[in-house]
């Protein structure tokens, strides 16, 4: 067993893990943070996506010891407590979620995209979300949501 220190959604944790334990297992099984989903555990679907020091990673392929001391954000911690992040609000208002299973990962992929490119075109959004699968929406309303959020967020920071 190995000691792992990490910060998730602003909270510090110290837990013991095995060498093979993935970040997804840490989040779901040890910390009971369930928005990252085990959609495939093969790195293909993106439902397990989280931000590690602001970088989008697939937590099912990430060894938990590789995030030693790092800051993890899941969709539960995207907004300040009691608030809803503009991306979350935009996904809600633009019907970007259907079954909701891909939604947490999708929103974090969008966050990573907007951090780098606050004014994306639809093509940019497609590229930014290309690692995250959705079987319900056909993506159109997801892309609508990200564009809507980017417009709002730019206005806010202006």
């Amino acid at each position: 067993m190995h000691l792992l220190k990490l910060t998730v959604n602003g909270q510090n944790y110290e837990i013991t893990v095995q060498l093979k334990t993935t970040l997804l297992e840490v989040l779901r099984d040890k910390l009971q943070i369930t928005s990252p989903k085990a959609g495939c555990n093969q790195g293909d679907c993106g439902t397990c996506s989280v931000l590690v020091d602001s970088i989008l990673v697939k937590s099912c392929l990430t060894n938990s010891l590789s995030v030693q001391g790092k800051k993890i954000i899941t969709v539960e911690g995207l907004a300040k407590p009691g608030e809803v992040h503009p991306l979350q609000q935009a996904f809600h208002e633009n019907y970007g979620a259907q079954c909701g299973f891909c939604t947490p990962g999708m929103i974090l992929a969008a966050k990573a995209l907007l951090d780098k490119n606050p004014n994306p075109t639809r093509e940019d959004v497609k590229v930014g979300l290309s690692g995250n699968l959705c079987r319900c929406t056909g993506y159109t309303k997801i892309i609508d949501s990200v564009i809507a959020a980017s417009e709002k967020m730019v206005t806010v920071t202006d």
Binding site: C40, D44, C99, K126, G138
Partner: protein, 329 residues
């Protein structure tokens, strides 16, 4: 060389379980604060049935959408539903929900009629209040009526609803039967570009125009059309669970090998809603969930023929199939 072509495909889709015999039931309880709880047994798979059933109940009860809470999570506490399949929930659960809400409203009218000294048939329900028709000053709030019903009239303000299209047994000789609640209609248009060197097919434009009878929530209907269209696009161009059929070796066992469409695969989509009301459906609604997945394949195959003059009679239209078809031309 890159050739472009267009194609159409049209069709129909039945609402409800094939052959009928699939019940759904609903229960509407009016709460002391004048809000309502709708209990149904169907599942929300993402299609949004909690949303649209709450809309229907709110409509009947003269409430805001936000005032209707939906319970569907536990079989112990929900009335029977045969399930969320067969494009049935909007229609079948919708009818059950409307009936349940009407029955709850009837109890409100009976009790309000006694308080307001009016005939229940002279009452209307609006904005959380029951009014005497034509007299905006004679009214009681729903919460007051529930209070009177509970503490004075010994009545529960609960409405039940049930709908099932009777099972229709097909005649073994002729197949004659009455197998559906209603039919929805769909027409689609695809424009493709086919690369005759690589066999790759790119869908440039896809227009879907589908009949929802009455769109209870147009954005959710659009979501069904867009989602179904992309699923159909996957079937048309990339998906095959047994690519070496009938051999099951080398069957895809991950979502890289079994490729479904990603954001990079989707064309310019237009989702349009037509409303040709069903005779018996709730507010004229028809099923929309499955219809939308059916037309991309034939529309795209027809567009490929228009572009390069070859017919593909097997899906998916993979580069290999396109090239082989061109070779054998």
């Amino acid at each position: 060389m890159k050739n472009r072509g267009t194609g159409i495909a049209i069709g129909h889709y039945p609402t409800g379980q094939n052959g009928g015999g699939d019940p759904s039931q609903a229960m509407v309880k009016i709460q002391p604060d004048g809000s309502a709880v709708l209990t149904v047994g169907s599942c929300d798979l993402g299609q949004g049935c909690k949303t649209i059933l709450a809309q229907m109940a709110a409509e009947v009860l003269g409430m805001e959408y936000e005032q209707v809470k939906v319970i569907n999570h536990s079989v112990d506490n929900t009335p029977m539903s045969s399930g969320s399949y067969a494009s049935r929930v909007t229609y079948v659960d919708g009818k059950a929900t409307v009936e349940a809400a009407e029955n709850a409203r009837e109890i409100l009218f009976q009790v309000a009629g006694e308080i307001l000294e009016a005939s229940p048939s002279d009452l209307i329900i609006e904005n959380g209040k029951v009014f005497v028709k034509g007299d905006r000053k004679r009214f009681k709030t729903i919460s007051k009526i529930v209070e009177v019903a509970t503490y004075e009239k010994h009545k529960q303000v609960v409405g039940l609803g049930h709908f099932m299209k009777d099972f229709s047994k097909p005649d073994p000789e002729t197949g004659e039967c009455d197998p559906f609640c209603t039919l929805s209609w769909g027409v689609s248009f695809a424009e493709v570009e086919v690369d005759t060197d690589t066999g790759e097919v790119e869908v440039l434009r896809f227009v879907s125009y589908y009949d929802a009878g009455k769109a209870i929530n147009p954005m959710l209907v659009e979501g069904q059309i867009q989602g179904g269209s992309v699923m159909g696009l996957g079937a048309a161009l990339m998906e095959d669970l047994h690519p070496y059929y009938p051999n099951i070796e080398h069957q895809p066992d991950n979502l890289s090998d079994y490729s479904i469409p990603t954001t990079m695969d989707i064309p310019d989509f237009e989702a349009l809603i037509y409303e040709c009301p069903s005779t018996e459906g709730p507010y004229g609604a028809k099923g929309i969930g499955e219809l939308s997945a059916n037309y991309p394949s034939p529309a795209i195959i027809n567009a490929i023929h228009d572009a390069i003059g070859v017919w593909l009679t097997e899906l998916p239209a993979s580069p290999e199939k396109v090239l082989r078809a061109l070779e054998s031309q």
